[in-house]
Point group: C3
């Protein structure tokens, strides 16, 4: 499972970098806490972070179950695809808004592959 | 732990379906990203998703600790109650807003039962 | 890992208490669901909860990997620092807004220590 742990930590680091960019954007665009709206560019940064949480709660458990029941290196590799796709998503969203779609879709493919692998591994363990 | 893995995956699938409904609602009610407000019906879909994340971060660790320290099948069964209660919550919230309360409460009972079981299992392992 | 489980459950309980305070604030400041804005004091409660989720998705996996690969009691102890720092953060945010910074920073130090320990443990397991 070391590979799964390693990619888990990469995902968390990427997520913390995104969180740091949000706090920088909050200062730059003068959006005072607790507000999270009021400036379109800030809202993009904020939505990148929120959407990344929405994905993390699926990707991490799916990757762990895949690793625990089927194949840790493959689970880690798919997790790595997610990390790269998320970077493309964040870059595309912040730059142009519309530029987020490719990164989003590649991340979703990795997520679905992780879920399918986790399901196969779980069913193999059950029967 | 296979039962716990299986119910974990069911929870993640239910959550992805909710996320899909949010993206459909975004298009239907013409709420352009990054905005998450501006149309009451869209906001209901969005709140269902957000509230489900708020629950997931509790339910998944509690179910895993319950399974690891006490009894995996019972942990999985309570997780299944959560899945059904969340479906009722989502349906009730989207249809009428006020119709969400029963599903919310049943999900909360399952969550509390998972936490209590996890605490009992952890204390048994400690002493 | 019992110590890590115990602190995980403490973190989840603290988070549920925060969620309970948000629902009380929703009633008190008359912010009707699905709205999450419209009253500054409610928004502070709500941001405390949201920011706590944003932290939980990092703290819990990092603490578990630290515990699984390096040292469960130390992982649990750092998790406990996070619990205390979060309480200070919540109190400071709700009272004055600006009073949240110390709690936030101490929680972040605990988070970074957990990530560093998890990374050291993972690299030791890999090589």
């Amino acid at each position: 499972m070391q590979y799964v742990y390693l990619v888990t930590l990469l995902i968390l680091l990427e997520y913390l970098v995104i969180g740091y960019l949000v706090s920088k954007a909050r200062a730059r665009f003068k959006v005072r806490a607790p507000a999270v709206t009021g400036h379109l560019e800030f809202e993009r940064y904020f939505r990148v972070q929120q959407n990344t949480i929405e994905q993390l709660v699926v990707v991490l458990p799916a990757m762990w179950i895949f690793g625990l029941t089927l194949n840790p290196p493959w689970a880690a590799l798919l997790g790595l695809v997610f990390v790269l796709a998320r970077a493309a998503y964040a870059y595309g969203y912040i730059k142009t808004g519309g530029g987020r779609h490719h990164g989003f879709m590649f991340g979703m493919y990795a997520t679905i592959a992780l879920l399918v692998g986790a399901m196969i591994g779980t069913l193999k363990a059950l029967f």
